[in-house]
């Protein structure tokens, strides 16, 4: 049986664990054995993006060693920006490192979740059901670094009962940008407001994307303006089958994740 090693972004691990669980659920459903290399922590992107390349480099080297040792057929990540870091930026960050050749080989095996399902697994229909009107936000790294535009939409089009709508200016940045959101909060939130208003204008009930970092930002803005629109990660939509069994699993995970609140 084919195996997939999951690359779980640090903020998904700590703040959106359901995204990882849902991705595992979908991968199993389409016939993959799923592994989670527990030694992983972070790809190093936050430091890299802020100019702290020397601080990010050891994390990148660590990543290459951990996943280089995995014999999984593919490494799959529920984030366009983290996939971008490994595929597009590790060669620059690790220039001069003895691990550069390994990093370049590894890059060829790393996929963002939606591009894996459509391009590698070739399963655009994952048997999902989500009877709601949904708009897709084109996360910037996924769109412009990995050229992911059609793949998520193709997956969403096969979701039973779901209506896919397009937001005005769907390709315009939501304004998260990592530390940009805390360094330049007024610009970031103005961009977030525009994205939120466009989501509302589309008539969507949910906004989805490949990246929960964008969604966390958009959700925070939507909740502040008491918007009826909610956010949900692409993996979480694809995990829904409408059957009581899976609904139960989701409820269980949610309960466990929430713990005593």
């Amino acid at each position: 049986m084919k195996t997939v090693a999951m690359f779980i972004p640090c903020f998904v691990d700590q703040l959106n664990p359901e995204v990882g669980m849902d991705m595992a659920r979908v991968l199993r459903r389409v016939g993959y054995a799923v592994d989670f290399p527990e030694a992983q922590t972070c790809c190093g992107q936050p430091g890299f993006n802020s100019g702290y390349w020397n601080e990010a480099r050891p994390l990148a080297e660590r990543f290459v060693q951990i996943f280089g040792a995995s014999d999984a057929d593919a490494i799959v990540c529920p984030s366009g920006s983290c996939t971008t870091m490994v595929r597009n930026f590790y060669p620059e960050l690790l220039a001069g490192s003895s691990l550069l050749p390994q990093a370049e080989k590894l890059a060829a095996r790393v996929y963002e979740f939606s591009e894996f399902l459509v391009k590698v697994a070739q399963v655009p229909d994952v048997g999902a059901s989500f009877p709601h009107r949904v708009a897709y936000h084109d996360a910037c790294h996924a769109l412009r670094e990995l050229r992911i535009k059609q793949q998520p939409r193709e997956l969403l089009k096969h979701v039973r009962g779901m209506e896919l709508v397009e937001m005005p200016y769907c390709e315009e940045c939501c304004g998260f940008g990592g530390t940009f959101a805390t360094k330049f909060p007024m610009i970031s939130s103005a961009m977030g407001e525009t994205k939120a208003a466009n989501a509302e204008a589309s008539g969507a009930e949910y906004v989805t994307s490949t990246d929960s970092s964008c969604l966390m930002h958009i959700e925070g803005v939507l909740r502040l303006r008491k918007s009826p629109v909610r956010t949900i990660h692409l993996a979480s939509i694809l995990a829904q089958t409408g059957s009581p069994a899976t609904a139960g699993n989701i409820a269980h995970d949610a309960a466990v994740a929430d713990g005593a609140r």
């Binding site: 664990p17 972070c42 100019g51 103005a190 929430d258």
Partner: protein, 470 residues
Amino acid sequence: MSTPAQEFLRNAATKSADLAHRRTIRTGIDHYEAAVARTGARFQDWEAARQRLHEVKWEAINHLDKYLVEFETRLKERGGHVYWAETAEDARRYIADLAARNNVRTVVKSKSMVTEEIDLTHTLEKDGVKVYETDLGEMIVQLRNEPPYHLMTPAMHLTRAEIADLFREKLGGVESDDPQHLVGIARRALRKAFFSAEMGISGANFLVADSGMMALTTNEGNGRLGTSLPRIHVAVAGIEKVIPRMEDLAVIWPALARSAVGQPIACYNTLIGGPRAPHETDGPEEFHLVLLDNGRSELLADPEQREVLHCIRCGACLNVCPVFRKIGGHSYGAVYGGPIGSVLMPHLGGLNKFQHLSFASSLCGACTDACPVKIDLHHHLLQNRRNAVQSADRPASERAAFGLWSWVLKGSGRFAFFGAAARALLRVAYSLGLARTPLDPLRPWTKAHAPPEIPAKSFRELWKEQRGAS
């Protein structure tokens, strides 16, 4: 005395909250995007055009000495003067002296960002010379006594009503805010200046090495008039403006117009080779080209970022930038704004002074996609950030924070521990109702966001549990 970074934060905050300004910009950008979509179809292979332009500029910049000398030789053969200015002051002094020697009282000037860079107009005005900006957008901001808002459309931040009021006050004869009517007023106001000025000053979009001619593109015809009627023509150009051959313009001219304003081609694409030739019946008697270094040769010496000098100043990167759309052109506080300015200013104006511009980006990459000469703009922003951390002043707290971050993430056990501790702290804080108060640990975030739901268990904890259960 506030720093450029502090001023930037203030201006950006003000403009980001200004909904009327955002609407004006959005309207202008929508017109632009619609025009580009229409024009795009004229290129059978736009990516091939971008690659061609990249190769033309690569050839020119990576053999810059050869092409500059060839250009100078040919231009001098035509009777033109070439002055090489190392600094802004150098360039200003040469032109001011030239004007004084020739008793120049009136100058007509076409739009030129490099003349803004060297602050030429103020220098001439201090010498008692009347300088008329003849590009409509530049003329408008000159009347308002403010710098250009955008390197291609200097007055796009103003509505027609605001321009009508301005003309009513400064020029008279305004009957409506119809753009056609307002343009007519500007035309009439400047016509006398064109016919009476002793000197015309222009920039140059390109310097064509093989023919010793400068290329000048305008839509209005102001550049044509200003370089045909006055007795002396002075052109100022950065040394990076060189292209090898006249034929390169066959692709450059349409690409420039498409990227700049969404036009198939600009109205007047002119090639000027010096003063009037001996057998010609009109045209300037004298021509001076001022070649400006002003930090460009240093950027040239950085092979990683040398391609930033390929910029043809089309302004497309500004138009597509989501940050520009929020903060507008004046917030940058620099001659060159938008993505190209954010990349360039740390090099031309100093890393410590302008590094904040390279950080004020979400790195969305729209600029890189839009650039007709394939400059990797957002990657250069990342490189500037790296350079800032390695050789400029960054806050000590930031250096400490990323040192700690790196240490924590080097071990999965450490990461799990600190992650759990942080989440526990947040859950306690939020259960005590501290969200969005001064005691909120995530206060920088929750200033503009509702507080996030904090899970009790991380993914790795859930995964372990699930594996244990099966």
